[in-house]
Symmetry: C2
Subunit: 520 residues, 2 copies
C-alpha cells in the first residue's frame, strides 16, 4: 500500500483533472450552502480520525470527506452572499495562478532562486503602482497580509528613527527615548499588534481622536505630536488610514502628510482594503496626498479578487527596509550581487511566487475589467445605502465612500408604525438581566436589538453580515467586495433584514429575551 | 472586451481543465530545463510590458507567456536535480490541496469564519505531533515560514520573561535589563532577524561556540548564561537546532534542556528542516530531549513535500503566545468565546487554509509513505556521502545525520595522480590577484577551486548544488529532499562533479583564472 514516492505522472494527470472538476463544481454549487457555518465548536473535529492514516488513500476518499466533513463546517468566503468583514474572493485568475504557483513551488527569496519570479513581482507592482496613480518613485514587495506589511513598515520607520535598534536593540539603553506611534482611534488592530511585536508596546500608541465621520482629527494629531516631543518622546510613525475597517473612514492624508513632513516622522498609509479604488478617477480625490507617504499597504486579497494571501507594500526608499532586516548568511550568498533579493524586505525568508497571481489577474480581467468590478461593487453598496436612508426602519451609521455600508435598525418602528409594547418588553428583559448594576437604557436596548437582528439574518443562510461598534453603538456592516456578488444578493440581504426586523417588532415576542439569556 | 465580472462557470470549467493539463505537462517536462535559471538580471523584465493590459486577455495568451517568458527565467525547484539549499518540493497532494485552498478562499482567522479549517488545522497538527513522537502536551499552529515561527516563539518568550513588553514596550525603561538570546554560531539567520525585529537587536545574540561536529557546546552555553546573569542581563530564549542549515548539525538538546530548565529560560528548537525525520524510529535519538522544549518549529514545506508555505509551530502552553499578541477588536468579536481563534497566535490576522495541505498529504501518501520517502532520501544521501568518502578527489566536510551532504573537492588530485603544475598556476593567479594585501594560501586556493567547481557543475544544467562555509572553508552542499529526486539524479550529480573536477585538474588550464577574474 505505502508508496515511497508521489503519484505517477499518469495518476497525477487524472487527479489534477478530477480536482479541476471538483473545483468547478464547488463554484457552481456554493450558493447551496449557508454562508456562515452552522456547526458547533468541536463538531467537525469529532468527525476526524484521531491519528493520521498509516497507508495511502485514494483521491476519491479525500474528496468525499472534503464534501462530507469539511464543506458543511466551513464559512463560505466565496459565497456571493458573503458580505461580512472585507470579502476576500477568489477570481478564476487567482485560483488558476495559485494552482500554477503550487506546481512550480518556487521560493522567491533570492534573485537566483527565482529570477523570473523576482522580476515579475517587481513588474506587476509597477503596473499596480501606475494604475493606482502613484508616482514612479514608488516600488514595493508582496507580503502575506496587511498585518505583516504594516509591521515591516514600522520596523523600517524604527530604523529610520535613528536609534540603531538593529544593532543595539531597545533594552537596557538609557539613550533611547520612548518611541511613539500615532494612529486614529479607528485604526486597525494590526497596528497595535505591530507596535507590540516591535517592542514599542501598547503604551507607545497614541490613539488620535476622530471627527463625526470617524476620520482622524489632524489638529489633534499635531497637538499630540507637539506634546510628545516636548516630553522627550521620539515620534516614530504616523499611520493614517484610507478606508478604515470599522466604517471605511478616510483620514485627511494631505493634511497629515504636511504634519509628518514638518515633524520628520514616517507616514504609513493603511489602504489595505480601499486602495484598489484609487484605480478609479472618480475616487482619486479620497487618496489626495498618499503619494507623499513613506509606505503604503494595499491588499489585492481584499477588494481585488485575489485569493489569500497577497498584500502589496509600497515604499519610496528601499534603504530603511534593507537597513532594518537585510541579512545574508554565507549559505544564501550568490554571485548576483547587484540583483534584487526579495528576502531583504521582510521577516520571512521563504516567499511564495505571489507575483504570478497579480499577473494572471491583471491579464485575465484587464485594468478595464478591474475598474468595472470595483464600480459594480460601489454601485451595489450605494444602492443598499440608499435603501437604508429611505427606509424608516433603518439608518445609515457612517458615510459610504467605498463598498462598505454601516447601518442600524430602529428597534421601535415597523412599516406600520411603532410597537411600544414590544419595546417595553425589551426594556423589562434588559433590566431584569442587568440587576447586577449595569446601566440599562435605550442605547443598550437598541444595541441588543441590532445584535439580535444581525444574528437572525446570519442564521437564515443566504447572506452573512458582520458588525462593529461606532460611538458605543452596535452597527451592522454590509461589505460588497466579492467577484461573485451581484445585485440579487445585496437585494436578498435587504429583504431578509426587513423580514427579520418586522418579525422582531411585531411577533415572536420572546426571541430577544431567549437569545440574550443564552449569550449574556 | 472588458468584463465587469469573472469568467463564466463554463469558461471557468474549461480554463481549470486547461490549467490542469498545463500543470501535468510541466511536471512531465521539468527535467528538460536546466535546474538553475540561465538568464541575466533584467532579462525577464525586458520581456514584460511596462503597463498592465487595459483589456482582458484569453487564458491561452497567458499560458503562452508563462512558457515563453517565465519558465526559461525560473530556477526549477521541482526539478529532480534540485539538490541545493533545502529542497521544497510540491507533491501531488500539496498541489491539489493548494488548488482547493485557493478555490475555497477561506480566511482562517476566527473560528467562526472557518470552523472546519480551524478544527482541521488543529487535528492535523495533532496527527503530526503523534507521528513525531512528541507528547500530548504539545499543540500548535501553522504559520508561513520558520522565520515567522521562530519570531513568534521569541515574542512569547519575551512576554514570558516578565517585563510586560506588551503593555510597556522596551524603550525608555530603566527597569528592563538587556534581553539576551542564545544560539549557536551555526544557527539560522532567521533567529538574528527575529531578535532585530523584536527590538532586542543583534547585540542581544550570544553565538555559542560549536564543537568539531558543528553542534552547540553546552558547557559554553552554561558559562555564557552564568556570565550574563552575573552582569544583570535577562536570558530570554535559547534556540537549539536539530539539523542546521549549513551542515545539519544536531545540538545536544537534552543537555541544553537541562540548562534551560535550571535557569528558567525558554527553549526553542529549530527543527525546521530535519523535524520530519523524527517520524523514523531509527532517527529518534537525534531528537532526544526536544519534548522538553517550550516551542519547536518543523516545516513540512521543506522535507515533507508540501509546497510553500507551511511551517508548524508547536508549543506546550498557548498562554504566553496569546499573552504576547492576542487582540480582539470589536469588528472581530464573535459569540464563540470558547472556540479557538487561530489569529491569536501570530502577527498576521489573515490566515490561509494551510491545514488542508497537510490533510491531503497525510492521506494521499500515508504515514508509511512519508516514512518511506524520508528513508529514500536518507539512503540517497548516504550513498553520495559514501562516494565522497571513497573517492580520493573528494572529502566529507561534516557528519551526515540527515539528507544533506557537505563535501569538498581536493584541488590537487586527479584520478591519475597529482597535478602540481596546474595548482602552481592557481597559486600564481591568486597571488597576482591579491597584491592588495590579502593573505593567499592553500586554503584560499582550495576555496577558489571548490567555488569554481560548483559554478561549473551548476552551469551544466541537470543538477543544482549550493554551498556554505565551515571553519572558513568553502563547502558544497548536496541536499536530497525532493519528492522527485531518484537515485539517477544523485548519481548524475556525482558524475558531473567528477567530470568537471577532472577537467579543471587536467585540462582547460585558464578556466579558474578567467572565472576568478570576473568574480573576485
Amino acid at each position: 500500500m505505502a508508496r515511497a514516492g508521489d503519484l505517477s505522472p499518469e495518476e497525477f494527470r487524472e487527479a489534477a483533472s478530477r480536482v479541476a472538476e471538483w473545483v468547478a463544481d464547488y463554484r457552481d454549487r456554493v450558493e447551496e450552502f449557508p454562508v456562515l457555518a452552522r456547526v458547533s465548536p468541536g463538531e467537525t473535529a469529532a468527525m476526524l480520525p484521531s491519528s493520521a492514516p498509516e497507508d495511502a488513500e485514494p483521491l476519491e476518499a479525500i474528496l468525499d470527506d472534503l464534501d462530507r466533513i469539511i464543506l458543511p463546517g466551513l464559512t463560505h468566503w466565496n459565497h456571493p452572499g458573503f458580505l461580512a468583514y472585507f470579502a476576500s474572493s477568489s477570481s478564476a485568475a487567482g485560483i488558476l495562478a495559485e494552482f500554477v504557483v503550487a506546481t512550480l513551488g518556487v521560493n522567491a527569496m533570492l534573485w537566483r532562486t527565482s529570477p523570473a519570479a523576482t522580476e515579475l513581482e517587481e513588474r506587476v507592482i509597477l503596473w499596480f503602482r501606475e494604475l493606482l496613480g502613484l508616482p514612479e518613485s514608488f516600488e514595493g514587495v508582496i507580503l502575506d497580509t496587511a498585518s505583516t506589511s504594516s509591521f515591516t513598515a514600522l520596523l523600517a520607520a524604527r530604523e529610520a528613527a535613528g536609534v540603531d535598534s538593529r544593532e543595539l536593540g531597545l533594552t537596557g539603553r538609557s539613550d533611547v527615548p520612548p518611541l511613539v506611534v500615532y494612529i486614529s482611534n479607528q485604526a486597525h488592530s494590526s497596528l497595535e499588534k505591530a507596535a507590540i511585536a516591535a517592542g514599542l508596546g501598547r503604551q507607545s500608541l497614541r490613539r488620535i481622536e476622530t471627527d463625526d465621520r470617524y476620520a482622524m482629527d489632524a489638529r489633534a494629531l499635531e497637538r499630540q505630536l507637539r506634546s510628545d516631543l516636548k516630553a522627550g518622546a521620539l515620534p516614530t510613525m504616523v499611520c493614517a488610514t484610507i478606508g478604515t475597517t470599522s466604517s471605511n473612514a478616510v483620514d485627511p492624508i494631505a493634511r497629515i502628510a504636511d504634519i509628518c513632513a514638518e515633524a520628520g516622522v514616517w507616514l504609513h498609509v493603511d489602504a489595505a482594503y480601499a486602495g484598489p479604488a484609487a484605480m478609479l478617477p472618480e475616487k482619486r480625490e479620497l487618496f489626495d496626498g498618499w503619494d507623499r507617504a513613506d509606505s503604503i499597504v494595499v491588499n489585492p486579497h481584499k477588494w481585488m479578487a485575489t485569493p489569500m494571501d497577497c498584500s502589496v507594500l509600497l515604499f519610496r526608499d528601499r534603504r530603511p527596509f534593507r537597513a532594518s532586516l537585510a541579512l545574508t548568511p554565507e549559505y544564501l550568498s550568490s554571485e548576483h550581487e547587484g540583483a534584487l533579493d526579495l528576502m531583504d524586505v521582510g521577516l520571512a525568508l521563504g516567499r511564495r511566487f505571489r507575483g504570478l497571481k497579480l499577473w494572471f489577474l491583471f491579464r485575465q480581467m484587464g485594468a478595464a475589467g478591474l475598474r468595472a468590478l470595483l464600480r459594480r461593487h460601489l454601485g451595489l453598496a450605494a444602492d443598499f445605502a440608499d435603501r437604508m436612508r429611505r427606509d424608516s426602519r433603518f439608518e445609515l451609521a457612517a458615510p459610504v465612500p467605498f463598498g462598505t455600508v454601516c447601518f442600524r435598525a430602529h428597534p421601535r418602528r415597523t412599516r406600520s408604525g411603532t410597537s411600544e409594547a414590544r419595546m417595553n418588553a425589551v426594556f423589562d428583559d434588559l433590566e431584569a438581566a442587568n440587576e447586577g448594576g449595569r446601566v440599562s437604557n435605550e442605547l443598550e436596548a437598541s444595541n441588543e436589538w441590532n445584535r439580535e437582528l444581525m444574528a437572525r439574518v446570519n442564521r437564515r443562510g443566504p447572506v452573512f453580515l458582520s458588525h462593529t461598534v461606532l460611538d458605543g453603538r452596535f452597527t451592522m456592516r454590509l461589505a460588497v467586495g466579492s467577484v461573485h456578488t451581484e445585485a440579487r444578493h445585496v437585494e436578498a440581504a435587504y429583504l431578509i433584514l426587513c423580514e427579520e426586523h418586522d418579525e422582531m417588532a411585531g411577533a415572536g415576542g420572546s426571541a430577544i429575551g431567549e437569545e440574550r439569556m443564552t449569550t449574556v
